[in-house]
Symmetry: C2
Subunit: 168 residues, 2 copies
């Protein structure tokens, strides 16, 4: 396989992956393009490469910057802004995990905390079942929170070394 085809396939695959997460397809494609491009790219180059509009490019690049996955680069003598992606995959995963935890886990933890205080008597089997469900889910969610927080803070080597050896 030649490089241009390989690039296209990677962009496509990363895009599908993104689409299944809360990241939208184009955002993931822009990210993919920047990931495999060594130097910085301008908005125009991204537009041309992915065949998307200026507005779309702008919005998705901005969102990638919000996630911390992409940074602006100023090139002396150029008016345009250029963009580069964080290339270290461990950092990339860590940033994505942090963002998704904030959007997904944190809100449900809040709701679960409130729901634990539902009124009613445990003699009512519906109340009892509800309490037990919430309790179980809450216990798990708190553990997941601990685990993810640790993972986000941890070092690459800890993951590839310690944890992985334990799991294998």
């Amino acid at each position: 396989m030649k490089l241009p085809e390989a690039k296209a396939q990677f962009i496509q695959a990363w895009g599908s992956l993104g689409a299944q997460w809360s990241i939208n397809r184009t955002m993931a494609q822009v990210h993919a393009l920047l990931l495999i491009t060594p130097g910085p790219l301008s908005a125009d180059e991204i537009m041309a490469e992915l065949n998307i509009s200026r507005g779309n490019t702008n919005m998705n690049v901005r969102e990638l910057i919000n996630w911390g996955l992409v940074g602006k680069v100023l090139i002396p003598g150029e008016r345009k802004e250029f963009f580069v992606a964080e290339k270290d995959i461990w950092k990339v995963v860590s940033l994505i995990t942090r963002e998704r935890k904030k959007r997904e886990l944190d809100p449900i933890l809040k709701v679960l905390h409130q729901l634990a205080e539902v009124e009613g008597d445990n003699k009512d089997k519906n109340v009892k079942a509800f309490r037990e469900s919430i309790e179980g889910i809450n216990k798990f969610a708190k553990s997941a929170d601990t685990a993810l927080t640790a993972l986000i803070k941890s070092e690459e080597n800890w993951f590839y070394g310690t944890l992985l050896k334990m799991l294998k």
Copy 2:
């Protein structure tokens, strides 16, 4: 908060969570309803409770059964089918993880494997950068695969005990 309101809030919250995953909102709501209901429910009861159509109910219940999250129950003397959800949250998470790994991680692993064999000379800095990106991502993806496979197979106690203690 009274039970009916708490139920509604939980269904709502679980639905939003599902929507951010590849699970659709209604599927997650049906799941939530079954999770907090101690006994089995019929399609009609689900329809009534969530205000959704018969077709929608059928499709989503069927999908939940495919995921292994919900089972059919036959009640003697009744023609109707009834449904119950797996209540053990550890099993629930394990089933969801298995399904998502199959849909998301496995396909990208396949693509990465192919892309590792891109033609070209490392003297070309684009080829070099591409290879390095793919290599890094591939290494991580394989590790994630190992980690998730182990997690899916592992016992509840291992997660709440061993792993969590290590992370705290």
